[in-house]
Amino acid sequence: MFELKDFNIICGHYGCGKTNLSINMAIKAAEQGKKVTIVDLDIVNPYFRTAEYKSLFDKYDIELLTTNFAATNVDIPSLPPEINSIFYKKDRCIIVDVGGDDEGAKVLGGFSAKIKELEDYNMIYVINKYRSLSRTVEETVQLYYEIQESSRLKANALINNSHLQNLTTASTILNSLDYANELEKVLNIPLVATTAPSFVADELKNKINNLYLIDIFVKPIWD
């Protein structure tokens, strides 16, 4: 079963579901009694970002650190100095939601030296077979190496987050397993979990190793 470490980095193709996964991880950790800090390091996306869920985090006493001007009209990729505090926090579970692709991972590159000094950390590459431009193993491998290059960090865990939003069924997820297994082999990064929304949990029982159930937090305001 996948376990969070004290320091966790979530990266991947933009739109693969990193933000929703990060929120789930943060809430689960908080429910286990951990003190959690979630870091929205996305300097690319103007909307649909972790920082928009502040009130949800407040409910769980999760600390949110984000880029300056997140969710405002100011389109400037700047980070506040407090971001550096994540390397000095003791007894906290840190979850870093990185922006999509190599562009989004660039900001991580600036922290790579400090991250490498950490005793232990998860650097999770999130994959989604149903996401445009990461539908094949080849495309997903290519994307990974672009992220590795710009973040100057190597992933040590793979999470299969393949889904089709509200059209996700048990077979949507089952049909992504070959893709995920193949990526585990080609990238030589352990596949630590396959996610599934709670509404298909029963159908997937005993069919998937390391099943990680998630709730859907990231959705349009009219749903």
């Binding site: 739109g15 996306n45 103007p46 909307y47 649909f48 009209n73 389109d75 989604n128 149903y130 996401r131 445009s132 431009l133 539908r135 889904h163 089709l164 939003q165 509200n166 059209l167 349009p220 305001i221 009219w222 749903d223």
Partner: protein, 353 residues
């Protein structure tokens, strides 16, 4: 291959254009449509097309004019302030009777405004995109799938009528992700373009594409001829989609992202026993006047919901010739109306509460 995949609205617009046979894209980056240009920059070289980031919006739209004059399918995209910069070129394209697809992923205005979603360019798109007597075909998608479907239609109708067409989207639709089906590898419709500047090879008289008239009488004739074409479009191209209007006493009119909010509110109002439906214009020009007129006898009141201070409401009033009261609810500056806010308006309109 046509299985469902997840795409951002901006990416879907780009891929749909490629599948519709668009081989040329000229643009200039602006939030919140940048992913569209980024997608084009990745894909166009792979399919033997041209992606060019111009030095300005003005340059990009004039490249569109040139490419269209040469007879190819061409597209540009921008967001509100960028469309204003393109307005002069769009007027020239319309004056030259050239087909092209222009995408506006609207953000808050006026001026530099903001980068959050908006629908405040309705007047610009439907009434006065540039100077002179002209119209654009304007399509308003409200889902990522509609974005895909309407891009191809926009190309086809632009070619059919020799008119620039616009996809009027908004930042929410451009940025959001939804499952879509894109028909890959189908053959797009090909239109004969005997007017194109593609080389006469000494076998025909040379073609001229021009918007300058040397005398007023000729210019008036051109304008009258163009309005004869517009009359055909007004007659044949009105499109709208209706939800639960069969027995509706109240009708909400909304397009794009605000129609998604309105639809959720209509469902909730129905659960509370209010006979309300939604009419969603798909074409903003030509405005679906006929569909609205048909509703007048059975409708007590109309409610228009927009992400603006109220622009489309004018067309609703004109369409029904002010025979029924038309109410309005809008948020602006990048704020999206919420379902409870719209539901509240429906309840007031229905005399509940």
């Amino acid at each position: 291959m046509s299985e469902k995949i997840l795409m951002k609205g901006n990416e879907a617009l780009a891929e749909a254009a490629i599948q519709a046979g668009c081989k040329f894209f000229f643009g200039y980056p602006i939030t919140p449509q940048t992913e569209l240009a980024a997608y084009m920059s990745k894909k166009m070289p792979k399919i033997g097309g041209t992606y060019l980031q111009a030095e300005s919006e003005t340059a990009a739209i004039n490249m569109v004019l040139g490419a269209s004059a040469a007879g190819v399918r061409v597209m540009t995209s921008s967001s509100s302030p960028g469309i204003s910069l393109k307005a002069e070129g769009i007027s020239y394209i319309a004056a030259c009777d050239l087909p092209a697809v222009i995408i506006n992923v609207q953000r808050g205005g006026p001026g530099l405004g903001g980068i959050q979603p908006s629908q405040s360019d309705y007047w610009q798109a439907t009434k006065a995109t540039g100077h002179g007597d002209f119209q654009l075909l304007v399509y308003a998608p409200s889902t990522v799938q509609e974005m895909v479907d309407l891009v191809e239609l926009a190309f086809d109708k632009a070619d059919e009528y020799r008119i620039p067409s616009m996809i009027l989207a908004d930042g929410m639709l451009g940025q959001m992700m939804e499952p879509v089906e894109i028909k890959e590898g189908h053959t797009p419709k090909v239109f004969d373009k005997p007017w194109a500047l593609n080389g006469h090879k000494n076998s025909r008289p040379h073609n001229i594409i021009n918007s300058l008239s040397l005398d007023a009488v000729t210019l008036e004739k051109w304008n009258i001829a163009r309005y004869e074409k517009y009359a055909k479009i007004l007659e044949n191209e009105q499109r709208s989609i209706e939800y639960m209007t069969e027995d509706a006493e109240y009708i909400v009119v909304a397009y794009g992202a605000s129609s998604r909010v309105a639809l959720s509110a209509v469902y909730e109002a129905r659960e509370q026993g209010i006979k309300v439906g939604l009419l969603k214009p798909i074409t903003l020009w030509p405005f679906p006047k006929k569909a609205l007129q048909e509703k007048v006898p059975t409708t007590k009141k109309f409610l228009v919901v927009e992400m603006s201070m109220g622009q489309m409401i004018d067309d609703v009033k004109l369409s029904i010739e002010c025979q029924r009261p038309v109410e309005f609810f809008g948020r602006t500056g990048g704020i999206i109306p919420s379902v409870p806010e719209v539901l509240n308006c429906i309840k007031k309109m229905g005399g509940v509460e």
